[in-house]
C-alpha cells in the first residue's frame, strides 16, 4: 500500500524510538526569531552545549520590530534588548541572521519560502505555531516550544509523537471574491478549533492544485487554528516553479536531482488516510469571524448565531461569552458592523499577491472617515517589490498607511495595537480576546479584500458589492 507524504517525510527523518515511545525526529530546517529563542540559547549556555548544525538554523526578527520606525535604538528598550540578544546569539553560534539591514528581514514564515530555505520533503520547526505555513511546499513543518528550540539547537532533533493524517479535499472553482483565506476560515468553521488535534492536515483537490504557492501558504498557515499542528500540500510543478532560482534553492545538476527527489515525497495515489473530508469550493462564501475563536465564523450573507442556536450548554456558554466580548447581538447580520481599524498583513496574508489583489480594487476608493487602515508587508523583499510596482502609492492615495515589514498588529508585541474596545477588520489569524494588544480590543478575521472593503465603507461589507466583482452572484 502507498504512503502519504507525511509518512515518507517522517520515515526519512526518524532517528530512533525513545524510551517513552516517542520518535527522535531530525529537524532539517530550524527557523528562529527573537521571542522564543533567547531562553533556549540561555539553556544551552547553562549546560555548556553547542549548536550542533548551525548551518541548518536561520534567524530573523519579526514580532517586536516597530513598523513605523527604523532607526535603533527603538523607543521600546525591551524590543531593543530582544533584537540585540538575537544578534549576539546568532553571531556567537554562527547562525545566519536576516537582520533589518540585510533587505531580507521579515516575518519568519514569509522569509523562509522567499529565500528558498523552505523545501519539499523536509522537516521544519520554529518556535511559532504558524510554522505549518511551510507545509505549502510539501514539508512537515510545525511549531515548537522553547525547550524544544533548545533541543533542536543542541541535537537537531526533537522528541515527538507521530500524527494521524486527515486529507481535506477541496474541489471545484471558488466563486469570484472568495479567496484562500475564506477556504481556511471555512475549514475551521466546519471542523472546529480542536478538530485537528492529533492530525496532520493534507490539503488536496482541484482547488489546491490550481492555487498559487502564496494561496497554499495562507491555508497551511492557519492549520493550527483548527487544532492541527501540521498542514501540507503535495509538491507539484507550481512548487518547483516557485522555488527555482531562489537564493537557497539547489542550483544546476543539484536542482534536477532535488526536483526528482521532491516528487518522490508526494503522497502515493493508493495511500489511505486516517480520515478524509470533502468540501465543494463553489459553496464557500467570503467568511468573517464574529467571535473569539477562529472557528466562530459565518459567510458575509449570514447572521451571527444566537445563543439558542447552539446545541449544547457548553456551546451556548461559548457563544454567550463571545457575543458579550464582541458586543454583538445574536441573530444580527454580520454585515454592517462598524469598524475602527483595518489591518492587512501578517504571516497569513502579508505576501505580494495579497497586496496586488487589494491594490487592484482599492484604486479610486478612500478609507472611510474615522477608520485607521494599515498595510504591512510581510518582509523587506515583499516591501521592495510592492514599492517597485507602485502599490504603496496606490494604498497611500487611498488613505492606508504603508508600513515596514513585521508582525505588526497581528499580536501586540510592537507599537501597533488596538486601543480600548476598538473593532478591527483584520487579515491576520487569531481573534482571541486581547490578541491585538488591548485587553478589550475586538478582532474580526477575513480576507485582505474583505478588510479593504471594510476599510473603505467603515463597516463589515461584502467586497464583491463594494468593488463590483464582474461575475459576482450576489
Amino acid at each position: 500500500m502507498g504512503k502519504s507524504l507525511f509518512e515518507k517525510v517522517w520515515n526519512a527523518h526518524a532517528v530512533r524510538q525513545l524510551v517513552n515511545g516517542q520518535t527522535q525526529l531530525l529537524i532539517g530546517t530550524h527557523l528562529i526569531h527573537e521571542v522564543t529563542s533567547p531562553q533556549a540559547f540561555g539553556m544551552l549556555r547553562d549546560r555548556d552545549l553547542k549548536v550542533q548544525y548551525p548551518h541548518r538554523t536561520f534567524a530573523t526578527v519579526d514580532h517586536i520590530v516597530p513598523t513605523n520606525e527604523s532607526v535603533e535604538p527603538y523607543s521600546d528598550p525591551l524590543a531593543q534588548g530582544m533584537i540585540e540578544e538575537l544578534r549576539k546569539n546568532c553571531a556567537d553560534n554562527n547562525v545566519t541572521f536576516f537582520d533589518t539591514n540585510t533587505g531580507k528581514q521579515g516575518v519568519v514564515h514569509i522569509v523562509g519560502p522567499e529565500q528558498g530555505i523552505t523545501q519539499p520533503g523536509t522537516t521544519i520547526a520554529c518556535g511559532d505555531s504558524h510554522t505549518a505555513t511551510h507545509g505549502a511546499f510539501g514539508a512537515i513543518a510545525f511549531g515548537i516550544g522553547t525547550s524544544q528550540v533548545r533541543d533542536v539547537l543542541a541535537t537537531q532533533t526533537i522528541a515527538l509523537n507521530e500524527l494521524k493524517v486527515r486529507r481535506i479535499n477541496v474541489n471545484g472553482t471558488l466563486p469570484p471574491g472568495v479567496y484562500a483565506k475564506d477556504v481556511v476560515l471555512h475549514i475551521i468553521r466546519l471542523l472546529g478549533t480542536q478538530g485537528g488535534t492529533g492530525y496532520a492536515y493534507e490539503y488536496a483537490g482541484t482547488t489546491f492544485d490550481k492555487f498559487t504557492m502564496e494561496e497554499r501558504m495562507t491555508v497551511c498557515n492557519m492549520s493550527i487554528e483548527g487544532g492541527a499542528r501540521v498542514g501540507y500540500v503535495n509538491p507539484d510543478e507550481t512548487t518547483f516553479e516557485y522555488l527555482n532560482g531562489r537564493p537557497y534553492s539547489p542550483k544546476g545538476a543539484a536542482w534536477d536531482a532535488a526536483v526528482e527527489q521532491w516528487k518522490s515525497f508526494a503522497s502515493d495515489a493508493d495511500c489511505t488516510f486516517d480520515d478524509e473530508v470533502d468540501i465543494d469550493a463553489s459553496q464557500i462564501q467570503p467568511t468573517v469571524t464574529w467571535g473569539i475563536t477562529p472557528g466562530q465564523g459565518v459567510g458575509i450573507e449570514e447572521s451571527i448565531p444566537a445563543i439558542s442556536d447552539a446545541p449544547t450548554q457548553s456551546e451556548r456558554d461559548s457563544v454567550a461569552e463571545a457575543l458579550e466580548y464582541m458586543q454583538f447581538e445574536g441573530g444580527s447580520p454580520i454585515k454592517g458592523k462598524k469598524i475602527d481599524v483595518a489591518f492587512i498583513g501578517s504571516c497569513t496574508n502579508g505576501r505580494l499577491s495579497d497586496f496586488q489583489e487589494v491594490a487592484k480594487y482599492v484604486k479610486g476608493h478612500k478609507v472611510a472617515e474615522g477608520v485607521q487602515a494599515i498595510i504591512v508587508p510581510g518582509s523587506q523583499v515583499v516591501a521592495k517589490i510592492a514599492e517597485d510596482l507602485g502599490l504603496d502609492k496606490i494604498f497611500i492615495e487611498a488613505g492606508f498607511e504603508w508600513r515596514a515589514a513585521g508582525c505588526s498588529m497581528c499580536l501586540a508585541m510592537n507599537p501597533d495595537k488596538l486601543v480600548g474596545d476598538q473593532l478591527c477588520a483584520s487579515s491576520s489569524n487569531r481573534n482571541f480576546k486581547g490578541r491585538q494588544g488591548s485587553p478589550t480590543g475586538r478582532t474580526m478575521l477575513m480576507s485582505p479584500i474583505m478588510v479593504a472593503a471594510a476599510a473603505v465603507t467603515g463597516e463589515v461589507s461584502d467586497a464583491r458589492n463594494v468593488f463590483g466583482f464582474a461575475s459576482a452572484e450576489v
Binding site: R16, L18, L26, G28, T36, G42, Q52, A79, M82, P250
Partner: protein, 200 residues
C-alpha cells in the same frame, strides 16, 4: 535531564471556567518582551484577573479562598493558539503544577509535559463533580494519580486520561528529553547524511 519522577500531584484546586482558553489568555503577548522566563508568573491570566488599569476583577483566581491552589481545572481545548512556552512557564512560575481539562491543544500539552506540568483529561461530568467539590470546600486536597489514571478528591475519585507517552515520561522522570536526545547523536548524523539538503 533526568528529574524526579512524578507519580502523583497533590494540591488545592481552582476552577478557570471556559472552553478554548488560548495561550494569549494564559499570558498576553505584551508580557513576552523578555529574554528569560523569570517573573512570568506575575502575568499569568493577567487580563482575566485584572482590568486594563490593574484593578482586580471578580474571578476565582482572585478569590482568597483559592489562593493556595496549585491545580487548575478548566474546559475543552485548553492552551490553544500560540506555541509559546511562556504559557506553561507562567503557570509553573505562578505556583501551579497541574491542569485538569476536557482536552488540551497539542503544542501546549507537549510544552507542559516537558516542564513536568501534569496535564490530564477528565470528562465534563467528572470535572463538574470536582469543581463543585472545590467550590464547596476550597481547602480540599485534590490528588492526580498519574500512575492509576485517577483524580482523588477527599476519599472519592473520578477517572482521568493521560497520553501514554507523557505518562511514561512523568513516571520515569524523563519528561525533559534532552539527555536522551543527546545520546542519539550518532544516529542523527547517519539520518542527516542520507538527506542532500542537510549537507553543509
Amino acid at each position: 535531564m533526568s528529574s524526579t519522577p512524578i507519580k502523583k500531584v497533590t494540591g488545592k484546586g481552582v476552577f478557570v471556567p471556559g472552553d478554548d482558553i488560548d495561550t494569549d489568555r494564559i499570558i498576553p503577548a505584551r508580557f513576552m518582551k523578555c529574554i528569560t522566563f523569570d517573573g512570568l508568573g506575575e502575568y499569568l491570566f493577567r487580563d482575566v484577573r485584572k482590568t486594563e488599569s490593574g484593578e482586580e476583577k471578580k474571578h476565582n483566581l482572585n478569590d482568597p479562598r483559592f489562593a493556595e491552589a496549585s491545580i487548575l481545572v478548566s474546559g475543552n481545548n485548553f492552551g490553544c493558539g500560540s506555541s509559546r512556552e511562556h504559557a506553561p512557564q507562567s503557570i509553573l512560575r505562578a505556583g501551579y503544577n497541574a491542569v485538569i481539562a476536557g482536552s488540551f491543544a497539542e503544542i501546549f500539552f507537549g510544552n507542559s509535559t516537558n516542564l513536568g506540568v501534569v496535564c490530564v483529561i477528565a470528562s465534563d461530568t467528572d470535572r463538574k463533580i470536582i469543581t463543585s467539590e472545590i467550590e464547596k470546600q476550597p481547602e480540599l486536597d485534590i490528588t492526580i494519580d498519574v500512575e492509576n489514571h485517577k483524580i482523588w478528591y477527599g476519599d472519592q475519585s473520578v477517572p482521568c486520561e493521560i497520553k501514554p507517552g507523557a505518562r511514561d515520561s512523568l513516571l520515569s522522570g524523563n519528561y525533559d528529553p534532552l539527555d536522551e536526545l543527546l545520546v542519539g547523536a550518532g544516529g542523527v548524523s547517519k539520518t542527516a547524511g542520507a538527506l542532500p539538503y542537510m549537507q553543509a
